[in-house]
Symmetry: C2
């Protein structure tokens, strides 16, 4: 049986998204539930895939099927392709499986030519409109299909407006458009060496070809990469009879969300433009009207639209993003899809829909993308700060950002690579600016609405964005913008608040995020659903407190080395390292002891009643020492410039010691419990500090029981040896203080050998955590410091690795080791607590994996705790039936 490549809308349904693309499936669904949808058909994603398999050739049989559908369309509408008396006009749009707004290409008004435009003008009695349609068609077709740069057409248009002294397109006359059309056709001839195609079928197939082709254009590839969309899905093509929102003031076009996509408020939200065609709204050419205005201007149409919106939301059980056109007071539905939304909106919508009885708690949990929550969990402008906003635009994507003004996406990317924080500023953004938006802290545009390209993309990325800030005048030539008399030059620092639309000069004070009522509600549900524990990594009492506020159920990792790095301690630490004998070292350690005790006292107190896992010293000692190369240069200088003998000698001695500590591969060197084995006195001091703090707190009535963690084991014997040391110290502290306390001793699995011997290790551990940062480095033989700047990017580029394994846990390699370790550890000790405390512990995909292999908890940075709680709940929902 040969494949069916083309489906009329009436032949499809929502479930056929994979074949028909999102847009096509939803057009079919709306058609079938009786909504007013202009008739049309969809060419399948299957056809697109075969197109690529065949080396960018239409699959055999596809054109035949298209012809049949065109004939049916002509018959249904009583119009014919190329018929001057009633020309069939269609739109050709891409429609991928996963919505990719603005990334794929669209052609409207296809079917127009020098003949049919005359017919259209005559039959509609609206010559201005007919020629406007034609010039739009040439412009879009020229850009999208013939690959002529947009600005070449725009220049002509601007000229014409200048000549007529008008501000907006809609003031131009039919004659103006005819002039414009002639100039457009000239551009086409000049750029392509051929006349603009007059034959509608040629136009149609060229457009279909262009849509297929656009699946592999740079913008689409980058977008898919950023959003991790498979390159193999392909796009469908939708061919649909045109309806016109630009036939006069009883016409219009708009975009609306059934709830506010920024705040989540249950209120129809959107924008429309009268006398305009679809692309005008999203392209941000003119600033559109809020949807509420439609109720005033066309009350009946509005009511019908409002009812339709409710119907669609209930039909899909989710907030809808809807495109519509009004042609002479008749409403046409052009698209519906689940609407993109900010994290804040996603949460509120999910929670309210549960309250409205539309969805279950489980569904609500899955409606919020944990990765997106990041934007709610970062700093924003302190509301108590005296802010002097110099301008106000639309609050297009919430959150605040601060950075250097940059007008160019390439420069934004370059500066970002150099470590600068930048704000990308432009009249509007286009898909070509994506890389600059990725690099920027925030986006500021002078034109375009809440549904403009900049706004939609920024929200998707979770970047602060202020749109349509018409007060700012951008002067590209002088690389500056002005607000009244204020001049802001390239690289000057500004701040923006995407939640209020404010633009502020310079840096402003920011505050820490708090969790909204809805967010807390949602997380409460997440806590009810999830089986995976969530702890935080915290090295000081402040972080511990913060993590507790965010719902952490304990500390999964306290790194003690950060404490050693403090400015007042480093000299003592160096003294300890450089000590000539054990007495001298003991002296330095004695100085460090009370400091460490205070560190642990604060953290343990903050986590009263919850578990706290403290890892003993882990990094190689030379990290605490000066740089050898710098020392060498200093010595050379001193020698050549007659420096003092004593100083030279001292520095040379230091250099010798630094050299003796330096390592070829510090990552695989003398660190972790290897330090504890060779210098047991250091671990003994740390254990003493932990237990003295514990004893004090127990005496004060707190409930604390630290978990002492031995890092980087490769064999159970290290653990046995150091465990004995720790236990001895604990006994001594109990004796000395007269306080009894509980504690655990466990270990971190950070190298493959430890994972492979997890059964033996578990026998002697009260708990285990995976240090997946190091486990990834050793399992892959990848030094993170070296890989990320050098060979990792080409590895991801060439798709040798699907993700950066330091961000998304490598299930195939590292995951296999973890699975082995968990299985073997649980075999000898079924109830043993096993956690993860690498960065992966806060990354949703990795959390899903941790759930699936039955970990006890994930531990992540305090700010990612809510993300982890939600991701853990999602994992529980999607892995139903499996429980801890």
């Amino acid at each position: 049986m040969s494949k069916k490549f083309v489906y009329a809308f009436s032949e499809g349904k929502a479930e056929m998204k994979g074949l028909l693309g999102g847009k096509g499936a939803n057009l079919a669904e709306m058609t079938n539930i009786g909504l007013p949808v202009p008739p049309g058909f969809t060419i399948t994603t299957e056809a697109c895939k075969e197109f690529y398999v065949a080396g960018r050739q239409f699959p055999v049989g596809m054109e035949q099927e298209v012809e049949e559908k065109v004939a049916w369309l002509e018959q249904t509408l009583g119009k014919k392709f190329g018929d001057p008396n009633g020309p069939l006009l269609v739109s050709v749009r891409s429609g991928a499986v996963v919505s990719m707004p603005g990334m794929m290409d669209t052609v409207l008004n296809l079917g127009l030519n020098d003949q049919t435009v005359i017919g259209l003008a005559a039959s509609s009695g609206n010559a201005r409109w007919a020629y406007d349609c034609y010039r739009r068609f040439i412009q879009m077709f020229g850009n999208v299909v013939l690959d002529i740069e947009h600005h070449k057409f725009e220049g002509v248009l601007e000229d014409q407006k200048y000549k007529r002294n008008v501000q907006f397109d809609n003031k131009l006359t039919a004659e103006d458009w005819q002039e414009v059309i002639e100039k457009y056709k000239f551009i086409v001839r000049k750029e392509t060496g051929k006349d603009f195609p007059q034959e509608p079928r040629e136009q149609l197939y060229q457009a279909i070809y262009a849509v297929f082709n656009s699946w592999e254009n740079d913008r689409a590839i980058i977008y898919r990469k950023i959003h991790k969309i498979s390159d193999d899905l392909g796009t469908a093509v939708n061919v649909q009879a045109m309806v016109f929102g630009n036939m006069g003031d009883d016409c219009g076009t708009g975009v609306a969300f059934t709830r506010n996509p920024s705040t989540g408020e249950k209120l129809l939200y959107g924008e429309f433009l009268t006398n305009a065609q679809g692309e005008d709204v999203v392209a941000g050419i003119r600033t559109p009207q809020p949807i509420a205005k439609l109720a005033e201007e066309m009350p009946e149409v509005f009511q019908q639209f409002d009812r339709t919106c409710t119907l669609l939301e209930n039909h899909y059980n989710d907030m809808q993003d809807i495109e519509f056109t009004i042609e002479k007071n008749k409403l046409w539905m052009l698209q519906t899809r689940n609407g993109k939304r900010t994290a804040q909106a996603a949460i509120r919508i999910a929670v309210e829909m549960v309250e409205e009885g539309i969805i279950t708690k489980e569904t609500a949990i899955t409606r919020v993308d944990p990765a997106q929550l990041d934007q709610l969990l970062h700093r924003r402008i302190d509301p108590n700060a005296k802010i002097d906003a110099v301008a106000k635009g639309l609050p297009a994507s919430p959150g605040s950002a601060c950075g250097e003004v940059v007008f160019d996406a390439d420069l934004a990317e370059k500066l970002n690579e150099q470590g600068h924080k930048v704000i990308l500023v432009g009249t509007e953004t286009t898909p070509d600016d994506i890389h600059g938006m990725v690099a920027a802290q925030g986006i500021l545009t002078s034109r375009g609405g809440m549904t403009s390209h900049a706004a939609v993309v920024a929200r998707g990325m979770g970047k602060p964005c202020v749109c349509g800030c018409e007060a700012i005048k951008i002067d590209h030539e002088n690389r500056q913008f002005t607000i009244g008399t204020i001049v802001v030059k390239d690289r000057e620092v500004i701040s923006i608040d995407g939640s209020t639309g404010q633009v502020i000069l310079g840096e402003v004070p920011m505050i820490e995020p708090e969790l909204s009522k809805e967010f807390q509600r949602l997380l409460q549900w997440a806590d009810e659903i999830r089986t995976l524990g969530v702890r935080a990594n915290a090295d000081n009492p402040e972080d511990a407190t913060k993590s507790r506020e965010f719902g952490a159920e304990g500390i999964g990792l306290t790194r003690t080395e950060h404490m050693f790095m403090a400015l007042d301690r480093l000299p003592i630490v160096q003294k300890m390292i450089l000590a000539a004998d054990i007495e001298e070292r003991a002296e330095a350690l004695a100085q460090l002891l009370p400091m460490q005790e205070e560190d642990f006292y604060g953290i343990l107190k903050a986590m009263d009643g919850l578990p706290v896992c403290i890892r003993l010293l882990d990094p190689p000692l030379h990290e605490f020492m000066p740089n050898a190369e710098e020392l060498s240069v200093e010595i050379t200088k001193l020698k050549l410039t007659g420096g003092s003998e004593a100083e030279i000698k001292h520095k040379e001695e230091l250099l010798r010691k630094v050299r003796s500590l330096s390592e070829f591969n510090p990552m695989l060197g003398h660190r972790g419990c290897r330090l504890g084995i060779t210098w047991p006195e250091v671990y003994a001091m740390q254990a003493q500090a932990i237990f003295q703090a514990t004893a004090r707190l127990v005496k004060e009535g707190y409930h604390v029981g630290p978990e002492v963690e031995i890092p980087l084991v490769i064999d159970v014997k290290e653990l046995i040896y150091l465990r004995e040391l720790v236990e001895k110290v604990a006994e001594e502290v109990k004796q000395a203080t007269g306080v009894d306390f509980h504690y655990g001793v466990g270990t971190m699995i950070e190298v493959p050998r430890a994972a492979l011997l997890a059964d033996e290790i578990a026998e002697r551990s009260e708990f285990i955590t995976f240090g997946t940062n190091d486990l990834t480095q050793t399992a892959l033989g990848f030094s993170r410091d070296d890989a990320e700047g050098k060979f990792l990017p080409p590895y991801i580029e060439k798709k040798i690795l699907s993700d950066n394994p330091f961000i998304v846990l490598d299930r195939k390699g590292v995951g296999k080791l973890m699975q082995w370790a968990v299985d073997h550890a649980r075999r000898v000790k079924p109830e043993i607590s096993i956690g993860i405390c690498g960065e992966h512990g806060g990354e949703p995909n990795s959390i899903e994996f941790c759930h699936s292999i039955g970990l006890t908890f994930v531990s992540c940075s305090p700010y990612r705790v809510p993300i982890a709680r939600l991701a853990a709940a999602q994992a529980a929902v999607s892995n139903k039936g499996q429980s801890k």
Copy 2:
């Protein structure tokens, strides 16, 4: 049932070695086959283990059993402990499961005291002898049991000899010994605060206690560490009625081997001393007589002894090391055991015993320790060199060595650590010198025979040794020795030849080893028996040729980076690395191409008909670049001393590039196939060189088919990508040369992830080899360069690791990954060739593991190929039933 802790010799047998120790089991065996063994009993190793479990306390019931056996002994011999008229005298000796010559302690003549010595003198009519026995007893007991330094007693003895103006002990009279005895007792009182114990039972239990204790003395611990003997075995104690070799000239004591332990010749070999006690021979106090002399001096005793030797060799089916004593013309057997032997002797004995029909080929294979073969496979003095030997001693352990003269074991160790080669020179060696012997290239002593401590230990270690070189006079005070008028000072260089006994001043020309006829025969049998292939690692035609001579069946690893390091190539390699663009790089690569082609041409030609695996470039690029610190210092100097601007600029540019190439952890950095992915042109050049060499050789009639190896893969996708590149180049070379040739593409598993994904990798590989050096580094998180000098020694010291994992393959960790990889690879491709080419490929224990997991081949350095052939055969014998 309570344990039996004490066995009479008649109650034991050879098979009870684990319980009775080697000596005890063999004494029992000899007793039971009717040989003349003085009666006695053995306290079991079990008693020793319980002694340690109980905190160095005799186990309950042991003393009771000892008392019963003593009573039985008294009854059997008609003598009684402490009876002046017929005192029972016994020896107390340790007897571990594995023979540890000279490492454990012995007490003779126990039972003597101030009373019984008088009775003994009277009953024997030999007062001189009786007092000699008593002074020996005090001396040994004082040293071994009471821990009084040996030299304190020796000083008294030397004094007495000086006073009497005699050279040897045997010239001292009964009165002399009585004086000596009084002084000895004074020393005991002074050193211990107590009188020398007079009660024989107290002497006995103190001696037993001391033997048990000696299991944990430093010498024993070090010996066990060197010889990898478990610390858990414990030692047995043998209590045996004394017989005396020092009662006159019709008495004697000796040691003999049933075949020559140095050459393997089938001829009774050994030494004896008349009128001496056992320890005199092995301690090297007087230089003894060759055993053949016994035939002249006591022909009847000799004949009985000779028959007994033959009987014992046939009984044990192996060459025996026998101790005997002659008391008034009566032969007593005191010990037999399988004799230690040099590799050369082991081979000859094994081969001849097969020819004699005593053992099978399989047994012969297991009779040679592959690790010991090393000594046959190293350089020796060129027999054609004009050698001017300045002295000649006994050829105590074969092989030649050259190094600086050192008189002190500690200094030998220190200098060796600093990279010096040393020869340890001394009057004799003692167990306290073991660490110095380990550190030395060879050993030279002025006293002691072929069975002296120095000789036995050196043979065991496979170190060249010249013993009993009486021509040299050692002057410890001035740190020099003299040979006639020649003075050789500390740190001067000498050479020794342990096969001839020659001592030569300065360095001498050495030659490469060849395989003896017997060795080749044995290896032939090994080849028949083994199922594991043996290849060599070779980077040049010379090594390839050598490895072929040694029986390699192919090259398992050719490293191409060594070729890049050659002095004439390094500048071109640097040019390639520093190239500003791809054209410049192509130019440098074009220069390298013909050089690489010649490299491969030579190797492939040398291995005509055999497989050759060539690994593409593996190390990080900065290895080819200058050192950043040195460059920095140079630049600083140039700047401060007014160096030329141009030079400074050039060096700064170079420094920038070096810095950009430098890595935090080069081991885990931009190397291996990661270079091939980022700089495919380098791998393309290497592939072209390989294939052009191949095409030339095929044209010339050789049979070559190179295996191209992609290093350091972590994912099959790297392999797919680079395989395509290699195949493209192969096609181009075939086209260009018009020659068709075969080749394979495969990969090296060097990181855990690759092992875990071996099934996917195998699908796209014609072969796989394990790079276990790197796999060990990544699986353990151990940088070899950093570990071996820093934390690995304490890890082995503390027994966290049983061996250096870079020498003996870590079965628990790395082995598990290999096993997984082999299983999974063979699951998808049962016939795939899987080898190992890390250093472990030449280490017997690791080879046994490789056999057991079903590898196709091991690959090692050319000189280890014979070792690997033998070890592989032994693995096949010991894993019988399992085959490749």
